[in-house]
Homo-oligomer: 168 residues x 2
DNA sequence: CCCTCTATGTGATTTTATAACATTTCAGAG
DNA sequence: CTCTGAAATGTTATAAAATCACATAGAGGG
């Protein structure tokens, strides 16, 4: 087996919540946004988004591909990468560069600069907002004349559960 | 040819400076730090650091490997990856996650949380400091109980030169 | 209906990274 | 100085991640 499948042990992102509703609502919101913008949330694309929403964690493209195959879709890499491209470009999914993996956005539709907290032990990923123009990086950009177009902000460490489990 | 070689057109990182001295000084500093800490800056490791210092930009592992081969070292991937592992672990080189590439540190020896500005047009990379605990991400971490151990902060955009070149 | 553009399916390939094992080098012990 | 064990290097092979190229299928406009 190439990938971790199954959502049984998937940690919710640092806090309990009604996960079924969380998936439903976000999918519905995505459909609405696509309708508004004339985007086609095709079956593969919808399925990939659904898979990423079900897990509250980052999945690699090949893990997604395995799940797509199980669901009866094509099983070659471009199938997964093309769906992911669409979802990332339109803000429904973010890529976690540190992990070469993808995670569903919790604020679909709204343009925002995400920041992520990644647990090195259980792989949970939580999305927060970053404020790229404030702080040291923004200051450095202004002083050198660098024009920021996109930012990658990823913190690696221990999530609350794993920190507690591993003492202290 | 697999990679961009040659430093002729390599942009200096957003500002003119005495590059020869820049390379020399940083290499000397690295040797001193290694001596202090009992680390072995072996020929391959030193060469990789030198190559990265000469280019003020990120190089992929295979580009480095090509240059190592030219310099008479082993030409199989582990040669490059092992040297890079050493240099990254000891803070002489940083990995740019967005590019799957590596860049020499401009503050070798000192522990710090780097932030990078990456020009999407000319590939120049400039290092700045980030302040992970301040700002939105730090606040999110504190409020959820996430323990940050390491951060990846990378801004993509246009460097001053390329911004000017491409109009306004 | 026909044409065109977009999306999907599939095979092959490129790029990035690691595993596994043999050989060499070197610092420190005796 | 010589032995010895750990660290470093060289090399083969393989895994993992991403893209290319081209054929087929669908949706929508005329
Ligand atoms: Zn988001
Ligand atoms: Zn955790
Ligand atoms: Zn320089
Ligand atoms: Zn640095």
């Amino acid at each position: 087996m190439t990938s971790r499948e199954g959502s049984a042990s998937a940690p919710v992102a640092f806090s309990d919540h009604d996960h079924a509703a969380c998936v439903e609502d976000t999918l519905a919101a995505a459909e609405e946004v696509c309708a508004e913008r004339g985007l086609r949330l095709t079956p593969v694309r919808r399925k990939v988004l659904e898979l990423l929403l079900q897990e509250h964690r980052a999945l690699g493209a090949y893990a997604i591909l395995d799940l797509l195959r199980d669901a009866g879709f094509g099983s070659q890499p471009p199938v997964a990468y093309r769906a992911l491209d669409f979802l990332v470009k339109n803000g429904f999914v973010h890529k976690i560069e540190r992990l070469n993996a993808f995670v569903a956005c919790v604020h679909p539709g709204e343009t925002h600069s995400p920041a992520f907290m990644i647990c090195r032990k259980c792989d949970a990923v939580a999305e927060a907002q970053s404020t790229p123009l404030k702080g040291a990086l923004g200051a450095a950009a202004r002083s050198t004349g660098f024009q920021i177009e996109r930012t990658v902000v990823e913190a690696e460490g221990l999530c609350p559960d794993c920190a507690e489990a591993s003492g202290s």
